[in-house]
Symmetry: D2
Subunit: 141 residues, 4 copies
């Protein structure tokens, strides 16, 4: 499946309420690179008025899963996360666009490891970065 | 602040769209234990039709942050996550209640480490488990 | 292979200099539990005079690998670590015995996840705890 | 303290048996970069005849601790690891030099986060990579 096909197919599927609220817009999705962005706002806040860490962990999980699944789509597989480790480097109070870039650190027959960095467009500084380990599994029939 | 006070205050704050969509209902919140639940459904799905890993990482982050913040509220502090490491043990296709339990592994002057387990009410099996490392910081004035 | 056989076979293999210096003495090794101990001393120190974190990460790695390998030995497999995540909870200046206990959190066909806790015998407090994710692979012919 | 001073002082301290067996030779140590190497050999093996994962986690821990401690030495502090998360990407059967490079991802007042990559000199491929989170603490008087 070409990267254009994969991105298109992904976009054609309805988003769940959770995925919509998490707010990641995928700009490009291939088996070796996924980029996207999030418009950070009060919609993403914790009760303490900063962007919830789960917004970042979820973007990390989504971006890595999309890329890793794109990488094995031709084999009739997709990739499921088994571990997500995300570090929070700076907090955000919204009004900023977060840029998300995912790239593989390792792509094996059975497993993949992806690194995802999330950067403030405004400041150029890293907000969060995470690694996801994924297992390649058969697509549901 | 008593645990009842803390839970009440938490409930009195408006939930952001992201926190609402993530679906964690906090049942009890003290500085040494937080419990809650999520009604897993299609609202939480990835494009591949299973519960998104971000639902679990977000519940892990929320539960640990609430507990760790409760623990230091009396000192005029709250706790912000610096690392969230979550393992996904079993996938779910919804129609199940996930039980969330958070407990501290370490509570220091500067840092805390919490363990959060997420279990299927139906099967009793662990769906995910995560650790969050948090830093104690002054409450905004 | 019975647990006694596995422990015996393990003990019959020569230890490398690194494994010997790391100092983990395995007391019991089965596919669902590994226990051991380390006599912490100046032999394990960093240049700053405390036990090196690598002594704990190495014990975590060893104990998990031994248990996970025992679990799949009957299938002609052993288990290799793919991720080791260890938290250091208290520092030690030696003169203490560290008790090591490893137990599985998940044992799948392809992967295993083990939790290892390291406790001071003297104080009963946790010094470190780590999780190792392992992949089951065929034994070398 | 200048970087030359720090490296010199480090070298002047006696190495413990564990640190010696782990085999990391530090080539350069500053508060923003640490490099070193390990001559991988049978001295580093597990009972299964490959380099022990603990050799990598220990190098990750050492390199990050040395760099992070160099970074705060002027403040009368050093840095102690609180979490070490290391991924093992390729196994080694020795006869190779492993190149170790550590660089900070974040350097705060209270905490630091360092990334350490370990590469085979022979193949240029990554053997392992790890992140260490450290806390800045006062030097012992």
């Amino acid at each position: 499946m070409s990267s254009t096909d994969f991105t298109s197919e992904l976009r054609s599927r309805p988003e769940s309420a959770f995925v919509a609220a998490a707010g990641l817009i995928v700009d490009e999705a291939t088996g070796t690179r996924v980029t996207g962005h999030i418009e950070l706002s009060a919609d993403h806040f914790t009760p303490w008025g900063v962007v919830h860490g789960g917004v970042y962990t979820t973007a990390v999980e989504s971006a890595a899963s999309i890329g890793a699944s794109a990488a094995v789509a031709d084999r009739g597989q997709f990739a499921v996360g088994v571990h997500n480790g995300t570090d929070f480097l700076r907090s955000s109070t919204g009004g900023d666009r977060a840029l998300v870039v995912a790239e593989p650190l390792q792509q094996g027959r059975v497993q993949q490891l992806w690194l995802v960095t999330i950067t403030s467009e405004q400041t150029g500084k890293t907000l969060a970065r995470g690694q996801v380990r994924l297992q390649n599994v058969p697509l549901p029939a």
